[in-house]
């Protein structure tokens, strides 16, 4: 038990601490490949635990400081933090592994507290080539989808979707109609069988055990689905009961969701008598009421009034704050920003962008200056800017809209008298969305976000513009 594995390049102190079982108190030093069982060679040999298979599991080093746990078709299974692992699983420091009657704690002093995703990036950077290992879910992710593929006949709807959503995270799933959102969500919910890939919902394999996976998620489809002849309370209770709740827990959840969605006064009313907004809230509440770890909301505010929309957003945010992972599909991009959600942009069956709004803005979008003239816009070249001339409009894409505006205004000369409008465009989520999905920016004027960029214009330029009667917009 005390001899490090042969060929190991493990870092100092990396080990599995035996915290329960016949060998409690001892340590298994980690190495390149450490087998664990009651009849294996090396430090993982635990002959005193008769509940172990002869060769039960193994720990594989992916890169220095990164290890994956694999079950070796053991009789009793291998559990990581209470989950029976379906395949290999990336380890983090502090993880608890249970095999037979033995409980091990992972000690990785150099790994720190980095998240699973971060550590997987570390593995990539470290040059690990074990693709399967890189696809292993992090222990914390409530939704882990990797390489999900789905075809209908010859049409590939999902071409390898990867998406992770952690507890407390709201992930905005964006994409045009037909991008694959519905199919992906259906696969996650276990309603459609993915052709390939891995989907774990709260650790449950949604491909192999769709029914079990459904117990861990709540889903509110886009189309309204309520029982109009039953009361509001009965609608909520039905879905609670189907999820396995009963008694006080069910009553408490129903009251809580009803309160949060302002449905309590309508509890005894038939759902068919509610207003459209109330019905939409009830529809969403039916997915929330049993508090599944993963909540899938597909355009929950479509057709909703302002109050309903705000209440739904508030509840979603509250649930996320309580630790639920939420997959929020919407076409209303401001909702993504209001929720502080991360973004997953699905296009053509693939996630083409994933990250926080700030990350995506930085990575994918540029600022722009747009000048509108009376008559044809002059063709002005600006250093560091990409110019596009369209009739009376001159659009310059740049890294710094304020500086570019100042520069171009200085070059206008006599043409300045024909200038009618100047717009400084700050990159927004909408702009990124349109850029990435290759739509014209001008098709979506509402996409322009607000910015203080105009205040950065040289005062002289602003003054000259205002005095000339030019319509100056701070966008």
């Amino acid at each position: 038990m005390s001899t490090p594995a042969s060929g190991s390049r493990a870092m100092l102190g990396e080990a599995l601490r035996v915290i329960d079982g016949p060998e409690a108190g001892s340590e298994i030093p980690l190495g390149r490949n450490v087998a664990i069982g009651r009849a294996v060679e090396g430090p993982g040999n635990l002959p005193g635990d008769h509940e172990l298979s002869r060769s039960h599991a193994r720990i594989v080093m992916l890169a220095p400081g990164s290890y994956a746990l694999e079950d070796l078709d053991s009789t009793n299974g291998t559990y990581l933090n209470g989950w029976r692992i379906p395949s290999s699983q990336l380890l983090s420091t502090g993880d608890r592994i249970q095999l037979g009657g033995t409980v091990l704690q992972v000690v990785l002093p150099q790994a720190g507290q980095a998240s699973g995703a971060h550590r997987r990036r570390q593995v990539i950077l470290a040059g690990a080539t074990d693709a399967e290992a890189l696809r292993t879910p992090k222990a914390q992710a409530t939704l882990y989808a990797s390489g999900v593929r789905k075809s209908y006949g010859s049409v590939d709807v999902l071409k390898g979707v990867d998406l992770e959503i952690e507890p407390g995270e709201v992930a905005g799933l964006l994409g045009h109609n037909g991008a694959g959102k519905t199919t992906f969500v259906s696969c996650v919910a276990g309603l459609r069988r993915a052709d390939a890939g891995t989907i774990l919902v709260d650790g449950v394999d949604a491909v192999k055990e769709p029914l079990k996976a459904r117990r861990h998620l709540g889903i509110a489809p886009q189309d309204l689905g309520i029982y109009p002849t039953l009361t509001v309370r009965r609608n909520l209770e039905l879905f609670s009961e189907l999820a396995g709740l009963r008694g006080r827990e069910m009553a408490s959840n129903v009251e809580e969701v009803g309160e949060a969605l302002s449905l309590t006064p309508k509890f005894d009313a038939h759902a068919g008598t509610l207003s459209g907004g109330q019905q939409r809230r009830l529809h969403t509440g039916m997915a929330m009421v049993y508090k599944a770890p993963l909540l899938i909301l597909d355009e929950p505010t479509v057709g909703a009034d302002i109050r309903t929309r705000q209440e739904i957003l508030d509840v979603v945010r509250k649930l996320a704050d309580e630790g639920h992972a939420i997959c929020y599909s919407t076409h209303y991009l401001p909702e993504i920003e209001a929720l502080g959600a991360s973004v997953a942009l699905l296009q053509g069956g693939e996630i083409i962008a994933r990250g926080s709004i700030a990350e995506l803005v930085t990575k994918f979008s540029k600022q722009a200056v747009e000048l509108t003239f009376e008559g044809t816009a002059p063709d002005i070249a600006v250093r560091g800017g990409e110019t596009k001339l369209e009739g009376s409009r001159l659009r310059i894409t740049t890294d710094n809209a304020a500086e570019t505006a100042a520069a171009v205004l200085g070059q206008l000369g006599a043409q300045a008298i024909r200038l009618r409008n100047v717009e400084l465009v700050r990159p927004s989520l909408d702009a990124i969305y349109l850029t990435l999905t290759e739509q014209r920016y001008s098709e979506q004027p509402a996409a322009r976000g607000d910015s203080d960029a105009a205040q950065e214009l040289p005062a002289a330029a602003v003054g000259a513009l205002q005095n000339s009667g030019v319509n100056f917009k701070r966008l």
Binding site: K181, I219, Y227, L242
Partner: protein, 266 residues
């Protein structure tokens, strides 16, 4: 976005079946018209048709009859098939309300189907027993055999009706088509199966095809017990055939049933 169910595991939870059954019962009881349709109207029809049936029975050579001996089992069997329309509509209602996919996401397809059909089974069985009991007590049904011997026909008929309903719903994609097929079958089964008139009074061609109709076997069992005074031995055969019909309809339905199928309430 919708969430169609592409497949469903076989695993079932008795608790979820009961939850869905209770839910379905609420939906059924939410329409008080059902009680009127399935209890009061059959009784009224029996009363109205009793004298006509008495004449038919006397003409057929039966003695000491009140007419209830044919009217009670005939209209009980006929109105059992009325449930084809009523139960079928509850499936289409789920599609119309947008709840079909939601409930599929919460339970397996077998759980949903059994849960939705179970209350119908109880109600049809109860309806048949109730109508026979009222017929015996209030309409002067003069049975030569023991009516208790007929009791096993009721659940077999209920199973048969619901299996046929399942098959119809599986094949029809619109509510209007389901209604049309259900009403047509209900009338054909009643008339050719001997529920409206004694089979022996039907044309020869109708008598030839009558054994291919489930209601014929329910009526056969009733006639043997009520009019001929036979015992439970005469009921077992027709009951088995009713169950065979039920299994056949179930298999037929399963061959076509797809939980992902879109159903229109048009």
């Amino acid at each position: 976005m919708s969430c169609p169910v592409e497949f469903a595991p076989i695993a079932m939870s008795g608790r979820r079946v009961l939850v869905i059954s209770r839910h379905q019962t609420r939906l059924l009881l939410g329409d008080p018209g059902a009680l009127v349709l399935f209890v009061i109207i059959p009784l009224l029809t029996m009363v109205i048709m009793k004298s006509t049936q008495k004449s038919a029975l006397l003409a057929a050579g039966y003695h000491d009859v009140t007419g209830a001996e044919e009217a009670v089992p005939g209209f009980t069997v006929m109105f059992a098939f009325f449930w084809l329309v009523f139960v079928g509509r509850t499936f289409f209602a789920e599609h119309g309300w947008g709840t079909w996919e939601r409930i599929q996401a919460m339970a397996t397809t077998p759980e949903v189907m059994i849960g939705k059909l179970l209350p119908g089974f109880v109600v049809i069985t109860t309806q048949m027993i109730l109508l026979f009991a009222i017929g015996d007590l209030a309409l002067g049904l003069n049975s030569k055999g023991s009516l208790v011997d007929l009791i096993m026909v009721a659940p077999a008929m209920a199973f048969c009706v619901l299996a046929l309903c399942f098959a119809i719903v599986s094949f029809c994609s619109t509510l209007s088509a389901t209604d049309a097929v259900s009403n047509l079958l209900m009338l054909v089964f009643a008339s050719l199966g001997g529920a409206l008139a004694l089979t022996t009074a039907l044309p020869q061609w109708a008598q030839t095809i009558a054994p291919a109709i489930p209601s014929h076997w329910a009526m056969q069992a009733s006639t043997d017990v009520i009019l001929k005074g036979e015992g439970i031995g005469a009921v077992i055969g027709p009951t088995a055939i009713l169950l065979a019909f039920a299994v056949g309809f179930t298999v037929l339905g399963l061959m076509r049933f797809r939980p992902t199928d879109r159903k229109s309430i048009a």
